[in-house]
């Protein structure tokens, strides 16, 4: 932990390299949820690959020894692994910063080239790959989206919630370590519902692009 704190303070590549090497050495247990079941687990492995690539020039530099040492502990979802983390069954857990803040956990701020949190680095994240049961998956910036399902039982209230978040979500989501787009972006493949079109026309939201892999 102190190695990571030092690295976070200095942001020196050598410090990060040493901290990640310790993490993967088998001296500590690292919680990474099942990547097939939980996107946070997939992101955990991709972050390890990004760190390996950035600090050692080798995507497997940290993931491979971690697996070899069987130092990774897994679970169905990162959220379900907080209690055993607090019980000391493992020492680190890969999860979202927003989840760490919400759960009042101490967390480490990783470099933006590693943490999948910078949309401008989408092309370099895309060089990272992880094989899920469903096939090969590429790295991508982590973007939280919301939608109202077609048959939502309380569609009207859901739309009001979307409007509320679009208009005044900044401080709410920032409090949990998320970085809101300003203005919020609309990703769509079909014509948006009227209330969203109105927000587009009013400049409350901007066009983000089409949905898709």
């Amino acid at each position: 932990m102190s190695g990571f704190e030092g690295a976070a303070k200095s942001n020196a590549a050598s410090d990060w390299s040493s901290a990640f090497a310790s993490l993967a050495s088998g001296m500590v247990k690292v919680g990474i949820s099942d990547p097939n079941a939980d996107p946070a687990g997939l992101r955990g492995w991709l972050v390890l690959e990004a760190a390996g690539s950035l600090y050692e020039g080798n995507q497997s530099a940290y993931a491979a020894p971690l697996l070899h040492e069987k130092a990774n502990v897994t679970g169905s979802a990162a959220a379900n692994m907080v209690a055993p983390l607090q019980a000391g069954q493992f020492q680190f857990l890969f999860t979202y910063r927003s989840a760490a803040i919400a759960q009042h956990l101490g967390y480490l701020q990783l470099d933006h080239r590693v943490n999948l949190g910078d949309q401008k680095l989408a092309s370099s994240y895309a060089l990272l790959t992880y094989r899920l049961a469903s096939g090969l998956t590429k790295g991508a910036p982590i973007i939280l989206c919301m939608t109202v399902p077609t048959n939502a039982p309380h569609a009207s209230e859901a739309m009001q919630f979307v409007q509320y978040l679009a208009k005044s979500s900044g401080p709410v989501v920032s409090a949990y370590g998320l970085q809101p787009f300003t203005p919020p972006l609309l990703y769509n493949n079909t014509a948006p519902p009227p209330f969203v079109s109105q927000m587009l026309a009013d400049g409350v939201v901007a066009q983000g692009g089409s949905l898709g892999p």
């Binding site: 097939n36 897994t74 679970g75 169905s76 000391g88 069954q89």
Partner: protein, 254 residues
């Protein structure tokens, strides 16, 4: 018309309706290959092995308790035996998680002697022992109570202790009931979910590295892979566990 028989069998049928519906859909319209794939069989193997080991521990450790309670009725002790089955089983999982936590003295001690309960075969077996032992004791106690006590009294009259009498007079001709109780305990272990979902969601030890217990796998499939996978996996487990339940009856009746 035997109305008692009609009522009894009707309600038994109602009890079985969900299982029959599940079998129909799992073998028919909702059949999904992932439900009988290699991951499912590894998972079922883990559950069978861990339940069998837990049942064996039940036999070795708790047969004396069943006999003791049969011959020394004690309401307090009997109530204590009931505790693990009368509380929600996630509590057992949380309790064992805390017991084995490195931040508690018990956990520190267990780790110092090389015992890790979290995501391990040992943890899985211990959780199954905790939830199945009361079932085992409660199934065996009536048998011991129904035994003619004369041979035991005769042995003790010759100077044998109660412990020696138990091992040399009672146990040798109790094998059928002990095996029946063990199979019942194993069935209970096979169906356990609440405690092991917390303590051993996965096992991270050879030869079951990365394998979920079967009940946990069904929940995982239900949560992440949809109804078809969950239903088919459930049917696979039912097909394996029903013969076990029937074996209990055959052994008991001889």
């Amino acid at each position: 018309m035997n109305w008692l028989r009609v009522i009894a069998l009707s309600f038994l049928f109602l009890l079985l309706v969900p299982i029959l519906v599940l079998l129909y859909f799992g073998l028919g319209p909702l059949r999904t290959p992932v439900g009988y794939g290699p991951e499912v069989f590894r998972s079922v193997a883990l559950s069978l092995v861990s339940s069998a080991v837990a049942a064996t521990v039940d036999v070795v450790a708790f047969t004396p308790l069943a006999y003791y309670l049969a011959r020394n009725r004690n309401r307090v002790t009997e109530s204590l035996v009931d505790i693990p089955v009368s509380i929600p089983h996630p509590i057992i999982g949380v309790a064992l998680l805390v017991v084995s936590s490195p931040i508690t003295p018990t956990g520190a001690f267990l780790i110092s002697i090389g015992i890790n309960l979290f995501n391990s075969i040992a943890g899985l077996v211990i959780a199954l022992v905790v939830v199945s032992a009361p079932i085992y004791v409660k199934s065996l106690q009536p048998y011991f109570e129904s035994r003619d006590p004369s041979p035991e009294q005769f042995a003790m009259g010759l100077g044998a202790s109660q412990l020696r009498t138990f091992f040399t007079v009672v146990l040798p001709d109790s094998s059928r009931s002990v095996i029946s109780g063990a199979l019942l305990a194993m069935s209970r272990g096979l169906s356990e979910f609440g405690s092991i979902a917390i303590l051993a969601y996965y096992v991270l030890q050879s030869p079951f590295y990365g394998v979920n217990p079967a009940s946990v796998l069904i929940y995982q499939y239900y949560s992440y892979f949809g109804l078809g996978a969950a239903v088919t996996t459930s049917v696979t487990l039912i097909v394996i566990s029903v013969p076990l339940a029937m074996a209990v009856r055959f052994v008991r009746r001889g």
